[in-house]
Symmetry: C2
Subunit: 360 residues, 2 copies
């Protein structure tokens, strides 16, 4: 496993290099009496492409120019310089700030570069796309903590060594600064990521982490950036297969798919977040039939959403196409907790082994 020092240096090093090059290029332009200009990859819908080989959304080749010599572009050019300066301060001092703190910090500058946080957020996204680096690498972190992790994983954060079987039932919380975390030891053989915290606690309570040699990850609904980065790192660096257990409805599918193939909105950074090999293990329409689960009727919104994802390139596999079709035919959806109909332990003792192929 790569040591945190190397990883840390890698992250910091890369960010410092990109920031420093940006500065050099601007200075060079100026010293050659040319107006400095930046090339920013376009994030508009028409430049977001599904990459069949990598199995996630990426940005296409189009980009925009931001020149200091254009009245229409100079404001954004200057804002980018302010933002880059703040990021250099953060990477140099080793501190992290939230996007909101970034915005309010700028309120204290004489230049007063941003009218509202919307403006500073857009500039940051430009910079992520320009550098091909996540904001976290630049010292800017999301507010939101990541998922809960329970199981045989030992990690190191700065000086603290954390055993994810000894952090309490609530588990080890993936911090927004997950790239600075070192994987020290891992005995688990797979990851089971779960949509709801209720089901996460069921899995912990029933000892599923032990029975299945698994890290149990409680997603808390839609996965945070830190969670997606954790899953990708655990998959790539520890070689753990990732299984996704969500509600059997379009939103559950979506939660899984954002982990698998990323979102269109974050196309510029999916290469650091997507886990294309992650596998959706349910709840599927077939499960609803096979296990005679309690269901709810699909609402109109559900039906519209299902018809929409039928045409989404990320769902263009035999498995997804057949399950979406079956759910539309059934006209029903089911929650993870529906397995409780057969008792609290059923989901762990019966359903999961059959899904993981551990049962005849």
């Amino acid at each position: 496993m790569p040591k945190v020092e190397e990883r840390g240096k890698g992250r910091k090093g890369k960010a410092e290099e990109k920031l420093s090059n940006l500065g050099k290029e601007v200075i060079e332009d100026i010293s050659q009496i040319q107006p400095p200009r930046l090339k920013i990859p376009s994030r508009s819908t028409s430049n977001i492409i599904y990459d069949e080989a990598n199995r996630y959304f990426v940005l296409g080749p189009r980009y925009g120019v931001r020149s200091a010599a254009s009245m229409g572009q100079v404001k954004k050019f200057a804002q980018t310089m302010c933002m880059a300066d703040f990021c250099r301060e953060l990477t140099t001092s080793g501190k992290f700030a939230t996007l909101r703190e970034m915005y309010y910090t700028a309120e204290g500058w004489e230049t007063g570069p941003f009218r509202d946080q919307g403006e500073s957020d857009v500039i940051l996204e430009d910079m992520e796309a320009m550098f091909g680096l996540k904001r976290e690498s630049l010292g800017l972190m999301p507010e939101e903590d990541g998922a809960a992790v329970y199981g045989q994983l030992v990690v190191k954060e700065e000086d603290a060594v954390i055993d994810a079987t000894k952090a309490g039932r609530g588990g080890y919380t993936i911090p927004p600064t997950i790239d600075d975390v070192e994987f020290v030891k891992c005995k688990a053989k797979r990851i089971i990521a779960i949509e709801t915290m209720g089901m996460y606690h069921r899995f912990v309570q029933e000892g599923a982490w032990k029975t299945f040699d698994a890290l149990i990850v409680g997603l808390k609904g839609q996965a945070a950036r830190a969670t997606r980065r954790f899953l990708k790192r655990a998959h790539d660096e520890l070689g753990l297969p990732v299984y996704l257990f969500c509600d059997g409805d379009p939103f559950g599918f979506h939660i899984a798919m954002v982990i698998i193939s990323g979102s269109a909105k974050l196309a510029y950074i999916n290469h650091e977040l997507a886990v294309p090999d992650a596998q959706f293990i349910g709840v599927t329409a077939s499960d609803i039939v096979d296990h005679k689960l309690p269901t709810d009727k699909l609402r109109e919104l559900d039906i519209a959403r299902l018809k929409q994802i039928q045409k989404d390139p990320r769902y263009n596999s035999e498995f997804w196409q057949s399950e979406i079709k079956k759910m539309l035919e059934l006209g029903k959806k089911a929650e993870q907790q529906a397995f409780s109909k057969y008792g609290l332990s059923y989901v762990v003792e019966e359903y999961l082994p059959s899904k993981l192929g551990l049962k005849q």
Copy 2:
């Protein structure tokens, strides 16, 4: 500090006693050829009273009768018996289930007692009010995990001993089953509970837990039941004063006040959750003026809400009345992060010491 065994037995013992007595009374009625009946404290608005002495909402003396001999009441009577039976199973086995699991488990029973989860939830609230016990004591837990805790506290959950300075930056997560957690050791002298996780991470990063001998609690917005219970236990059992640091707007006030004096909706259980001595340390309207903070204009909804809480008995103190009035006059609100105007460390190095009276 009371040992967990005693606490555990206390909780379990109380619940088992209440459940057992309920059964005995029903059997006694039947054996005397009387229709069994239950007395359920009324949770209607007219029976919710602000208790000036205790400084939180409680239920008044009114109650309703639920008789097995009334056509209008027998269904709810039977539902209560089913729910009590399920709770007895949980307390006997030492397991926990979520409300959703409870509902779906009932789907598997021949009696099919509940039409939807709304029905089972109401019966559970009846039982909490009838017994004067939280649902958690009966083995039913909320889905939601509690806050993040960072600082010099060591707790024990079953066999795991957890040091809240060694659980990672994300902190120790308060589990929904917080009453089963034992406080083993605490060197902290106070609790600082913080509305947003962004500010929680700021406090952890700046070492505020060390500087202020404090447990830093990241509330994640509106405090979960587990968080409120944790704060109450830490205050009562460890003698720690509790300080609340929220946004300077009506919602921030509300988040603080629910911790301080409980909500009207949970009047039947506030005696286990409210921390009337907890102190709101800001952001106040005075802070906005004194620190010249960046602000947003109060929206109409904010103004309406402020006028509403002016008349709320929980806000009937000189401090709150003056701050609400001042905010209305200002017509402005401010977020916690607004202090970043003076640099990332300002909130910890300047604002907090003055608020805690640690600075001249």
